[in-house]
């Protein structure tokens, strides 16, 4: 008798997939009952997810630019006066062998004076000078791997201790300020993200709450027929996941389209500052995070809404 009954039913391991497949079909049917309303909800969720994601991508781009700026950092080493050329050549050799140094450029006192005369309004006065007051300068460009503030600072303090160096200079104040602004921007974006995520949760929760009200008769019939809570809840959970997932896809499209639209002007602007910079959209991992977060928010919102519905009607 038991074997005969078993053969009538789908095997338990297949039943799980079968019932989930049916729940997905049912949730798609629920969403297609009022297509315009569903599309509007998708759009609202998409925009709500796109705003913080767009800001996040912009901030990532700003961080890329600052990394680039670290790459262009230079250290100026001012030599003592009256240093012999042989000593300078030795120092240049030492610097060229240094593992943190990519490029070494020596500007002699004569070259420095010539440049100064070119740029200064007092070129006549400068020609009258008996002795050249300018020291020789060595300009150091760090290797690409040295791109953080701490690494550059370490290299700077190491080089400044070398013999023949009278003074060393590294202007990092503006980089520090930029770094602080980015840190603050990061915090603001995370706060905005949390706020918008909560908003998405409320939108999906409310949409599913209205859906459960619309399907109240069906829920009652299923209960009378012996459906379990999870059987009744499942299609609504999938609806929530679909809302979040499609919203995430819309957000991804909005962010990437906007980045594509801004790419040329941003490139032109960076060229004007002598940099080569290309605005980046969402990368694969960020896109996956966006889609998974959207789906999870949808799941959570609908879980809360359906749970409340069960509680109210139990």
């Amino acid at each position: 008798m038991m074997t005969a009954r078993k053969s009538l039913h789908i095997p338990r391991f297949l039943l799980y997939f079968f019932q989930h497949l049916q729940a997905i079909k049912l949730s798609i049917r629920q969403l297609s009952v009022e297509p315009l309303s569903s599309i509007m909800t998708f759009a609202v969720i998409g925009i709500a997810l796109a705003l913080p994601m767009g800001l996040f991508v912009l901030l990532q781009n700003v961080q890329t630019i600052t990394h680039g700026l670290h790459d262009t950092a230079q250290i100026s080493l001012y030599l003592n006066m009256n240093v012999k050329q042989k000593q300078i050549d030795n120092l240049l050799r030492v610097l060229q062998k240094d593992e943190g140094v990519a490029q070494v450029k020596y500007i002699s006192p004569q070259e420095a004076l010539k440049d100064f005369q070119k740029q200064s309004e007092f070129s006549d006065v400068l020609t009258e000078l008996k002795n050249n007051p300018l020291p020789g300068v060595i300009i150091i460009k760090p290797i690409k791997n040295i791109n953080t503030r701490a690494q550059i600072n370490y290299l700077f303090s190491r080089l400044k201790k070398l013999p023949l160096i009278n003074k060393a200079q590294l202007d990092m104040a503006w980089l520090k300020r930029l770094s602080a602004i980015i840190k603050l921007g990061n915090r603001i974006i995370y706060a905005v993200m949390a706020l918008f995520a909560f908003g998405v949760l409320l939108i999906i929760g409310n949409t599913i709450r209205l859906t459960t009200q619309r399907y109240q008769d069906e829920i009652s019939v299923l209960k009378f027929l012996g459906a379990t809570k999870s059987f009744i809840r499942r299609p609504f959970l999938y609806s929530g996941i679909i809302y979040g997932l499609v919203g995430g896809i819309i957000a991804w499209l909005l962010v990437d389209t906007t980045m594509w639209w801004l790419r040329n002007p941003a490139e032109q602007l960076s060229n004007l500052y002598g940099m080569h910079f290309q605005l980046q959209g969402l990368n694969l991992s960020s896109t996956l995070v966006l889609l998974i977060s959207g789906s999870l928010l949808g799941y959570l919102g609908s879980w809360i809404a359906v749970g409340k519905h069960h509680h109210r009607h139990s």
Partner: protein
Amino acid sequence: MIQFDHVTQRYPGGQEGLSQVSFNLAKEEMVFLTGHSGSGKTTLLKLIALLEKPSCGTIIVDGRNLDRISERHIPDMRRQIGLIFQTPQLLTDRSIFENVSLPLVIEGYRPSEMSRRVHAALAKVGLENKGGLTPEMLSCGEQQRVGIARAIVSKPPILLADEPTGNLDPELSAEIMRLFVQLNQVGITILIATHDVNLIGTLPYRKLTLKEGCLINEKGE
């Protein structure tokens, strides 16, 4: 099959839906539950179907004390009972086939078995060619028959019907009653709540009469 022992159902405010009701319903028996509107017929059916819990007393269905059934096992118990309502409560966005197959979908039947059973149930109620239609395309009598097909498709041992002919004309009502008699003949225990005494007057089945929540008459015929 169904046993009520001094069952009382008290609602908030102190009003009693049922008062000290006791009766037995044997396996494969068909019984009519009569009484005026508000006499407690629907309350009694809801208690059997675990849609309500009694304030006191014991209800035993198919050997199981309903008071001891946990919330988690209520759906299992409900699947043992076919429910038929005055309005058939069909899902209007589904076909007749889909409506009738719902209990089998819930139980996880194989699609081939599901199809066989749904067609058999529809044939039993005389609607074998209407599976592809939607409920709105059917008459009231046909919709009620779909409701019966849905209730019997999983072959439950018990069938509860609450005013199943309430919205039907006398001719259709008699037709539905003939259907219940046929179902009882194949071994289903049936309890039908109705206030239409004329309809059941000539039928040779036991009648339980409720008045203001009390069982005032139990006579076998």
